[in-house]
Structure formats: structure tokens, C-alpha cells
Symmetry: C2
Subunit: 353 residues, 2 copies
């Protein structure tokens, strides 16, 4: 075992650092403000099945594999830190119009054909399961195995686990990987990754998100993650102990300013799903930059003899955390993880990585 | 001259403390967090004429008298502190439908009859004056003498002026006026005033407000304060150096949680007035508690030999600041200010103050 420098202290970088330290590596995390980027803004929804779409087999496969690793990964982190990560059992995607309903049936058939559990629910079944949802809902798709985690508890827990296992933190931006003295380098800098590895096909996609708290007397929040498409915009509500996270807008932009139009649309979409949401407290509106890849699969694997990529996780960084950590640990041990082969960044090698 | 204890460190309490210290009193301000209440949340609009309504002669009279004192009060504070208070020259109230237009004409005639300057503007004149306003606007009412101030600059400037003139601050809540050792006490505790003077007819009315910043490339904000009634809800946009303040909701409530419905309504109303507002950054949403009186006039004057009230300013604390300070200083000199006589709290004396 030698030294590893992890560039980026979001959930991806922190989980790799923690696991590498547990495996005997001497680890340093380089980040001016660990945990303050997209990981902090995120919703924490783990919904690879609900987000499935015919043709995106590799995304579903990797997402389902990482979801399958979440219970063990989460348990281990909960045992190490005493924190409580999980906030939702199952997710329910709802359709507000006939076109959405047709899409849900398409997704259901395709995901079931890939061997995963999903169930189409009628309006009456939805009302029994989640009585607070809106009257415009026509059909639902239940994914009982999908989870959600509190992304901020996750950030804090990973940070604590890192400190407890001897990971060292350097609060500075890395301008060039050459300045790092470690034997191995893990590039987990999210949307900023291409800054230190020019040509890496990872671009920032801005997303805004709201955090709501149930006020005394307000209709209780749903127990499951609720997803839906409103006016063609995908919206989701992720339960928290005291309320909900509402996400997310999506723009090709690299600033993190919350816009009036973004907040307006998120509220309108959330109200269509859960009419009582007007009574909730809006205590935070934030924006983050998702590290998007061209094909919606992350970039996990060798960039060079010394450098391993763990970036490009798009909207699914929290979902992909366990399999990314496993894959990078396997890479550091020179024994690549077969399940992660479709995420190999060399698939873009003609673009001159 | 003796000692004065001012209970409450909002703009009312701070301005009284500053002026009393200048006049030779030894002054202490008691507030656990000076300047953090309604004064901090406010919009800073000084619009007594635009808010005029037949029958509310006393409110208009006091408001116009205080507006008249603002230039001198503001200049003095600006000279003392070097700060820059004023953010708007004139206010423009617009009508979106026929009923609103009729109301504007009623207000214009009545206010003009009281001797104040107001001018009815056609749609074309409004477009020339403020081209960013929405196409639904039918008629406008311009009050060229009305001003707006940056309430947070005002809070900071008053605080600095107090410190510079030797005012002492005690960061604690006052539970009983009996515990104060000063010769004279000024009760300027806003919506909490009735807690220390039971029976005082001042109640909290919650208001939510948004703070927006123009983003690069966004349509510039108007130069004047823009007021309008949207779906029967009064809305206003107050210019700031870098954007706008949007206000305000109004509820009979005593919490300061920002609600989803409040933010939704404020955005919708602001968009009806200024359609480009969706492009702006929403960087803050806050709620404050206005100290409302039963008749929309503040309570300024003697409660007892020792105690002077300066509270109940409702939505107009910033507007009423100069005349309140003058009236309380006059009261401390045992020479009451005639212009403030209608604000005498003894008008409620049958209620057992």
C-alpha cells in the first residue's frame, strides 16, 4: 500500500478516501471546502429503476448494481459513525396525464423485463398508499426496493469516517495533478474535473432544489419518494425527517445562483404532486453543478498509470457512491470491478483523454 | 438630562437612542439582537401618498409629515456615518384591471385634495417612464416625492451612529420595565411591545419578503418603487443598488417561517408587474412581524410618567422613523410635538393601557 491523493471532497471523493484508508492506503483529500458542492445540494434519491428508459440498459444496470450495494455500504457507514442515513422506503412515480401514463407503462414493462421489481398502481391504490397526493394523478409506478438517503447526513458521516480512519484534508484547490506527490491520484472533482484533466467529457449542469419543513398542522409529507413529470418537467419530492426536498431544475449553466423562475417552477410542480405543500416552510433554496457525462454513465477507471477517474456522475452521484468506491478500490488494487466496465472512461478515448 | 432606557433596537428604537444621545441623554438600548427584527426584513418603501385611502386622513397626515422629515433626517444620518440610504426617487402605483384603475383615480383625487402631488399616467406614459413593466398594466399613479431607503443600510447606519454617540447596548430581553433603572423608558419593542405593557393594542402581523438580484444580461430593475394590486393582493417592488425587494404577504400569525405559498404568491405578483423577474437571482426569502395597531396609526406618546411608547408602526416603521424620533425627543423634553398628537396612545385609554 502507498499514498493516494483524492481530488474532490464530495460524496464520491470522501467515500473513496474512507474506503481506501480502511484498506491501508495513506490518503489525502484535496478540496477547498469538502462536501459543499453538488453533494450538499442534492436530494439523495436512489431511483435507478424509476429513472429507467428503454435503450439506457447500461445506466440501469450500473444504477441497480449500486442500489444493491447501498444497504451494506450504508450499514457500514452507520455502524462507523452512528448516523441515520435512510429517509425513504420505495419510490412512487406518478402520471398526471395520458402521455405520462403511457410512459410509465413503457418504463414498467422494460424494467420488469430486466429482472427488477416494479408495480403499476391505479389511482385508488395510490390514494391508499399516499393519501396526500394530488387529485390530478392518474397512474403510479411503485419501486419498492428504491431508497433515499439524507445527502447532508451522508456528507457529514463520510467526513467523520474519513477523519476517524486517518484521512488528511488539504483545504486548497488543485490546479494540476502534477503538484500532487501521491503514488496514485483519484480525480473526483465533479463538474470541475475537466479543469485538471483537459478533454475529460464532464460538463456542469446547474440544478436548483428547495428544502421544505412541515409546519405544525400541515398535511404530513409522503413516506416514499414521489416523482412525476409536470408540464414536461421532471419533479421529485424526497422525504426528510422533518419535511421534503423538492428538485430539480436543469440548465446548461455553471453558476450557482438560485433563479426566481427556478423557484417558481419547482413550487408549481411540487404543488401539482402534493397540493398541501403551500402550507410548508421553505427554509432553503440552493443550486449545485452536476457533473454530466455525454452518455449519462459516470467515468470510473484509469485515465493513466497513476490517475483514476471517479467523476461524471450527473444527477446520480449519491446513487453511484457505493459502486464507485468499490470500483476505485478495485482499480487501486489493480483488479478492476467487472460491473463497472461500462463506466470505463476509455470509452471516450478517441476524444483524446 | 438624565438616563433613558430604550427597549427595542429596531429602526425606531435606534433612531430614538441616537437622537436622545445627541441631545445629551445617557442612553441604553435593550435588545437581544438589535436590528434583526421587522426592520431587517422590511422593504424600506416610503409611500404614504400611494397608500392613502379616503377616510384615513390621520394616517396620510402623519405619513406625509414623516416623509417630509426624511430628507433632513437621512442627510444627517448620512453625514454622520457616510452611508448611502436612498434607493428610489418616486413611486409608481399601477392598475392591472378596471377596478384597480378606478381605485387609483379615487386615491389620486383624494390625495391631491389633501394638498399632495400625484399624477395619473396613461399606459404610454408608463411605458416611457418604466419600460420593463408588464403589458397588462392599464393606468399608473406617480408620486414623485415618495422615496425608498435601504432598510439594512439604515439599520447599520443607526447602529453605528448610536455607538459613535455613546449609546450603550444590553443584549438581553427585557421582561419587565420595572427592572430598568433609567429615569425614562422608551418602549420601542415592535410586535413584542404588549409583552412588557399588557393591554397595549399592538399585535404581530407576519409578512414575507423576497430579495432579488439582477443577473448578468437580465432586464434592468425599475428606477422607481413599483406598487400594484395583483389578484387583490397588494404587491410592491422596491429598487436596490443591485436588484429589488419584493413584498409582502400579510397574515395574522406570530411565527417568522417563510411559507411555500407566500413565496409562490410573491413571485406570481412580481411577475405580473415585471415579467422579466424570472431571470433574477432569488437570494433571500425572509419573514418578519409587523407591530400592527387597531387603526393603522402608531402609538407614540406617554404611557405613564416614566414610560413613552414608540410602537405600533405596522407596515410603515421606516416611513415613520423621523417623526417618531422627533416626537419622542419632544416628549422626553416635556414638550409634545403637535403633529404626532393623533398617534397618542391615550386614544386607547378606555382599553386600560
Amino acid at each position: 500500500m502507498g499514498t493516494v491523493a483524492v481530488v474532490g471532497g464530495g460524496v464520491i471523493g470522501l467515500s473513496i478516501a474512507w474506503r481506501a484508508a480502511c484498506a491501508g492506503w495513506t490518503v489525502t483529500v484535496h478540496d477547498p471546502a469538502p462536501g459543499s458542492g453538488a453533494s450538499w445540494v442534492a436530494g439523495g434519491m436512489l431511483a435507478p429503476l424509476s429513472e429507467g428508459w428503454p435503450g439506457e440498459e447500461h445506466v440501469l444496470e450500473l444504477g441497480a448494481a449500486s442500489l444493491g450495494r447501498w444497504p451494506e455500504f450504508g450499514d457500514r457507514l452507520q455502524r462507523a459513525t452512528g448516523c441515520d442515513l435512510f429517509t425513504s422506503d420505495g419510490s412512487l412515480t406518478v402520471a398526471l396525464d395520458a402521455a405520462d401514463a403511457a410512459d410509465l407503462r413503457t418504463v414498467a414493462e422494460w424494467v420488469q423485463a430486466q429482472g427488477h421489481e416494479m408495480r403499476v398502481l391505479t389511482r385508488a391504490e395510490i390514494r391508499d398508499l399516499e393519501p396526500s397526493l394530488g387529485p390530478r394523478i392518474r397512474l403510479g409506478l411503485l419501486a419498492p426496493t428504491e431508497l433515499a438517503v439524507d445527502n447532508r447526513v451522508l456528507v457529514d458521516a463520510l467526513h467523520r469516517a474519513c477523519v476517524d480512519t486517518g484521512v488528511r484534508f488539504v483545504a486548497a484547490t488543485v490546479d494540476s495533478l502534477d503538484e500532487l506527490r501521491a503514488d496514485r491520484v483519484v480525480l473526483a472533482a465533479g463538474s470541475a474535473s475537466a479543469r485538471v484533466w483537459p478533454g475529460l467529457p464532464v460538463r456542469p449542469v446547474k440544478g436548483e432544489i428547495l428544502r421544505l419543513r412541515a409546519r405544525p398542522g400541515a398535511t404530513p409529507a409522503p413516506n416514499r419518494t414521489i416523482r412525476g413529470s409536470v408540464h414536461g418537467r421532471p419533479a421529485y419530492l424526497v422525504p426528510r425527517g422533518d419535511g421534503l426536498v423538492v428538485g430539480a431544475t436543469q440548465y446548461e449553466a455553471d453558476d450557482t445562483q438560485v433563479t426566481v423562475a427556478g423557484v417558481r417552477d419547482l413550487i408549481a410542480d411540487a404543488e401539482a404532486l402534493l397540493p398541501a405543500i403551500g402550507e410548508y416552510e421553505l427554509y432553503e433554496a440552493t443550486a449545485g453543478l452536476r457533473p454530466m457525462s455525454p452518455d449519462n454513465l459516470p467515468l470510473i477507471g484509469r485515465l493513466s498509470e497513476r490517475v483514476v477517474a471517479a467523476t461524471g456522475h450527473g444527477r446520480n452521484g449519491v446513487l453511484f457512491t457505493p459502486i464507485t468506491a468499490d470500483a476505485v478500490l478495485a482499480e487501486l488494487a489493480d483488479d478492476p470491478l467487472p460491473e463497472a466496465k461500462n463506466a470505463d472512461p476509455q470509452r471516450f478515448s478517441k476524444e483524446g483523454l
